[in-house]
Symmetry: C2
Subunit: 263 residues, 2 copies
Amino acid sequence: MIIDGHSHVTLPVEEHIKAMDAAGIDKTVLFSTTFHPEINRNFTEVRSSMEFLNDLLAGKKGSMIEARQKSVSELMDAIKQYPDRYIGFGAVPAGLELKPTLQYVAENIQKNNLSGMGEFTLGSGQIYLLKNIFEASKEFRNLPIWIHAFFPLTFQDIKEISELAKDYSETPVILGHLGGSNWLETVALVKEISNMYLDTSAFYSTFVLQCIINEVPEKCFFGVDRPFGDLLLSKNAVLQSAKTSAVANAVLGENIAKLLNVA
Amino acid sequence: MIIDGHSHVTLPVEEHIKAMDAAGIDKTVLFSTTFHPEINRNFTEVRSSMEFLNDLLAGKKGSMIEARQKSVSELMDAIKQYPDRYIGFGAVPAGLELKPTLQYVAENIQKNNLSGMGEFTLGSGQIYLLKNIFEASKEFRNLPIWIHAFFPLTFQDIKEISELAKDYSETPVILGHLGGSNWLETVALVKEISNMYLDTSAFYSTFVLQCIINEVPEKCFFGVDRPFGDLLLSKNAVLQSAKTSAVANAVLGENIAKLLNVA
């Protein structure tokens, strides 16, 4: 089974399913989103979307409780439409006190039977805001936590994530985008810490992708990051980079199926 | 004609030519290199190569005059072996005084009939070291200058490059890797400054690639950055992203053929 381990809700949802069919992708771990660059009609609109994203990645948008709740509701609509194709991860505001965090997770993640929390897009220096997210994971049967770990995060931020992962050793922690330009040091951390994993989306070098998936094949989850990535090009990159079919199968689906109990 | 506008000498050279044939790439603008990750046999060796690269990108290696001269000699060997397939760009040490810079360019670039200078891999805050490189371009018939503009460069660095490009308005300046995570602001600069261009290699999002090549098709050069990129995956990404065949043709070869007078 081939599973795209990381893509966002893209509109219209039917088009995503068609693209999955065309690329031979059986299921997608679907993430909520607070903006839709895929429906921008021109460069000016894309620029507005990207400026929003950059503010988001810089941690300038705060916890955005309302926008995140709306995005979870959009996510649930998509999952209800295609329950056999989608597995959901829901956005949770970081930096809230413990009680409202637990309440939010109960109402938005647990009640909706979502499989994990994320994508967390924190600014550099803001990793401490995840503390109560890890507490919530512990409270709710070790819900996996998915964290954007490309630009603008530094290796110091990734190291702070790894400290949290060590403290909450039953919580699966998925680092998005292979750790970005910090991939070399990130792979060393992932080797050492059993509950840390890597998502392959947004790789910028097939040489790097090849090095990583063959070095830690059991720790990598194939991801596309739609609308930013392309299903078929991403899948072909993994197929071409894997040295054996066992590596390809593990990365393209088996690993995440095992983690999330996907049947 | 399809031209890979940016790849490094990879060993053995015959394998590169075979890969170009297989991917339908007619010519490659070939850059010298001071290290060869493609021949590393395992992850430990790759790690050593990457640590070298990271030091290089952080500007910690200095001007490396000897290593660069050796790399130009290796480049010339490859070009002499396949003169119809390769067009050469040669490394030049940045930060030297004007006289030794001009002397180096005369002996290594002009004498070897190379078509441009680069790849320049400067640390953040080191752009001023390129001043004499631009002077040398002016002296030697506006030799194009190719600058790595992904991590670790910031937008401030890219802006400083654009100031040099404005001061030397006859010198073509190629920004590598679409400006990395600063692509949005970089596209705005490239629109404004007629002698600035973008190389598409190391794109980390096909959505971003698509936005850029269709917005400024006449300013983009297809690049693979072998050994880091894959010829066919990179070419397919451009083909799939281009909205018209005119855009695809311009980006995949016509633009750079015009700039470098490739027949």
